[in-house]
């Protein structure tokens, strides 16, 4: 509660604030008047400083709120404080309007990305079900021509895979190399499926799945080979001794 507004006002330790605690509540009101709102002159703030006498302080607050034209009374402590904080934020913004309006979404992202290096995983703080987030995923998928899927998180996975495979520096380098040997491509309708899948569309789908499977297998085999090479670095020591050789008859 109030955390974001308190943060905006640079209140020290906003998460520790407890509105039910009279002492904290009163200190908060005084802090707001002292630091942000400054409706009274300093010498006129004595009534709000008088924490010891509960009745006197409450009437001083009532008077103060009337002076600020606050729509809430002291009974409704929560709404009242929220209004007060909002008012303080408004004043703060008014004082530095120019500085705040120069903040653009790009700059914000930039600053956030700088922060990510400090925090362990900024994605944890993302709201994945935010409509804006969903809209972003949809527009990304349209740009990348990925067919739609009802679950936007699945879509996001597909986008990630595509970006890793097609747009990573390695992939781009590989594509520019592969373009020289373009004739290695073979049209889908010339590859044999090996079984009947019913209609043409299913056959094509089955072929694509097979091709994807083969690619995964190749990847696995390459990793196996790498493991063998790693072991060979330790064990291999091929020898020949031509003195042993003997040609037969």
């Amino acid at each position: 509660m109030f955390k974001r507004k308190l943060q905006a006002l640079d209140f020290p330790d906003p998460s520790m604030f407890d509105i039910q605690d009279d002492g904290q509540f009163r200190s908060m009101v005084l802090w707001l008047e002292d630091q942000k709102i400054r409706h009274y002159k300093i010498e006129d703030r004595a009534g709000l400083r008088n924490f010891d006498s509960s009745n006197q302080w409450t009437s001083a607050l009532q008077e103060y709120l009337t002076g600020l034209h606050c729509p809430y009374s002291t009974e409704n402590r929560r709404s009242m404080l929220d209004w007060l904080l909002g008012y303080a934020v408004r004043l703060e913004y008014g004082d530095n309007a120019e500085k705040y309006s120069s903040v653009t979404p790009e700059k914000f992202l930039e600053r956030q990305s700088q922060n990510t290096r400090q925090s362990s995983n900024p994605l944890e703080n993302l709201d994945f079900n935010d409509p804006q987030f969903k809209a972003g995923v949809t527009s990304l998928s349209m740009m990348l021509k990925i067919p739609p899927h009802e679950n936007h998180l699945e879509m996001l996975k597909a986008i990630c895979l595509l970006v890793c495979e097609k747009f990573s520096p390695d992939a781009i380098a590989a594509i520019s190399q592969a373009s020289k040997s373009e004739d290695e491509l073979i049209p889908l309708d010339q590859t044999a499926l090996g079984f009947e899948a019913g209609d043409m569309i299913m056959t094509e789908v089955a072929k694509i799945l097979r091709l994807l499977h083969i690619r995964d297998l190749r990847d696995l085999q390459t990793k196996i080979n790498a493991a063998i090479v790693a072991v060979q670095a330790i064990t291999a020591n091929p020898k020949t001794d031509s003195r042993l050789g003997k040609v037969g008859r």
Binding site: A192, I214, Q232, T235, P238, T240, L244, G245
Partner: protein, 504 residues
């Protein structure tokens, strides 16, 4: 004894490239026999049968057709007994015969004659990025250099130091041993049938005699029809499949190694035949031909043979891998560079003398079978789970070694082959004349001159062998391959022709 005309009643033409051997051709046939042949090859087959009839069964081998039929009479055989176009008489089974036995049938057998004496004899093909022009000026030196690196001939010894302990490990681990010791590249393994290692191998089932024979021979080519050849791409039939194998242009230089498990495999087969003769009496297994010694798959003798055979198969892979290592060294030396820069990758490595447990569909039902392939090559279709990922779209490469001085082929497996022949095709040219006949009829200087005229460098340990291995002694490999292509059991991909031959 039936006359030739009477025998013909049991033979039916199914198509231009396939003949049917009906039950009754020999006694006890449990399934039908089939063989593939075109007009040239079928003439050889029928001549063989006629001659046997005229001789009243005396003298020489049984004709191939009879052997195919005798295999069809073995207990537990399923589907059919199949002769490939290069079929010719062998010990028990014809060479170029395949037969599958039902693992779930307790009576089903395994037969060493169905694998052959040279267990896991096979062909390996390496590519390079060299053009014929790069090699031509060095051709003679390169042939000599290969000859120096890969010892050949009867009684040859290898240049890779091996201890008895090394051998035990190699028998168990196959290509994995070569990888561990650094004789192979990591990528070699994925392009071998079975990934270069049969897991059921058990070195303790291999006799010490067999090990003793195998120890000094590792990394040697052997004699007989074995060879190492430097070849160039002569023709590309399937551009896409060739590209997948790294074959990019005509006249690209390749190295083909054809060898097996040497004396080691021979001893394993001999030991098993002795053990199985006893088991046959005990288990009352009846066969048409004494050479078809066999044992129930689940019997001790059957299991011991399969474990020993797997160990011998592993030996053969280590052997071919060692020669790959030596070839790479030879090329690197001649061209003053590294095998890496020469792109000397293994395209594939096939076994054409082996028995394997495989899954097949019989009448729409999936069955676990023990598939014997003797002088025939596995040819699995695209998308089969047991072929390397690089060949998932093209089908398994099938390497068909020609004979000295003739061309070799690379084929690919097809779906039709999977259905009709248990994913099997031919393995090479196949003999037309017996060794003795070749020696009588041919003169080795003529044979060498003919090779010279074709611009082929040759290095042999024993000139007499040249006669036995002359192209004239064999069926025409192009006929054999064209028949397989026309019958649809495999598909032509690349044709290679030799420019240098190293032989025993």
């Amino acid at each position: 004894m039936r006359s030739y005309q009477e025998e013909l009643k049991y033979l039916d033409r199914v198509s231009d490239h396939c003949w049917h051997i009906k039950k009754g051709f020999v006694d006890n046939m449990k399934v039908d026999g089939y063989f593939f042949a075109n007009s040239h090859l079928e003439k050889l087959m029928f001549d063989e049968l006629r001659q046997s009839c005229n001789n009243k069964g005396f003298g020489g081998f049984l004709p191939g057709m009879k052997q195919i039929a005798n295999v069809a009479a073995l207990p537990g055989i399923v589907g059919k007994s199949i002769g490939l176009p290069d079929v010719h008489s062998g010990y028990g089974f014809a060479i170029g015969n395949m037969a599958a036995f039902d693992m779930s049938n307790s009576k089903a057998v395994v037969s060493p004659g169905g694998v052959g004496f040279d267990i896991n004899c096979g062909v390996r093909l390496l590519r390079t990025n060299l053009h014929r022009r790069d090699v031509e000026p060095l051709q003679e030196q390169l042939a000599q250099c290969l000859f120096d690196h890969i010892p050949v001939g009867v009684g040859s010894k290898g240049i890779i130091p091996m201890t008895a302990q090394n051998l035990e490990e190699a028998l168990e681990m196959g290509v994995d041993w070569s990888l561990r010791e650094g004789y192979a590249w990591a990528e070699d393994k994925e392009h071998c049938e079975e990934y270069g290692r049969m897991l059921q191998a058990d070195p303790s089932k291999v006799s010490s005699r067999a090990k003793k024979r195998g120890l000094p021979q590792l990394g040697t080519l052997g004699a007989g029809n074995h060879y190492a050849e430097i070849q160039v791409v002569d023709e590309i039939y399937d551009q896409y499949a060739a590209k997948k194998m790294g074959i990019e242009f005509k006249d690209q230089v390749c190295v083909m190694i054809h060898s097996g498990s040497r004396g080691m495999g021979h001893q394993v087969a001999t030991d098993a035949l002795v053990a199985m003769e006893k088991a046959m009496k005990r288990d009352q297994i009846e066969v048409n031909d004494r050479q078809l010694a066999c044992a129930h798959i689940q019997s001790n003798e059957g299991q011991d043979y399969l474990k020993g055979m797997a160990a011998a198969a592993n030996y053969a892979w280590v052997n071919r891998t060692s020669m790959t290592f030596l070839s790479r060294q030879a090329f690197a030396k001649m061209f003053n560079t590294t095998p890496d820069d020469l792109d000397m990758h293994v395209i594939y490595d096939v076994s054409h003398n082996i028995a394997k447990v495989e899954e097949h569909f019989i009448d729409g039902k999936q069955k676990t079978l023990l598939v014997h392939r003797k002088g025939s090559t596995r040819a699995f279709p695209p998308h089969h789970p047991l072929i390397p990922v690089d060949y998932q779209l093209t089908g398994q490469p099938v390497l068909i070694g020609g004979t000295m001085g003739t061309c070799s082929y690379v084929l690919t497996g097809t779906e039709q082959g999977m259905m009709e022949t248990f994913g099997t095709t031919c393995h090479g040219a196949g003999r037309a004349l017996s060794r003795a006949k070749s020696r009588r009829n041919l003169d080795y200087t003529d044979v060498l001159n003919a090779l010279n005229q074709k611009g082929i460098s040759i290095r042999v340990a024993s000139p007499k062998l040249v006669m036995e291995e002359a192209p004239e002694s064999y069926k025409n490999v192009t006929d054999v391959v064209d028949t397989c292509h026309a019958a649809g059991i495999s598909k032509k991909c690349i044709k290679l022709r030799p420019i240098a031959v190293i032989k025993g």
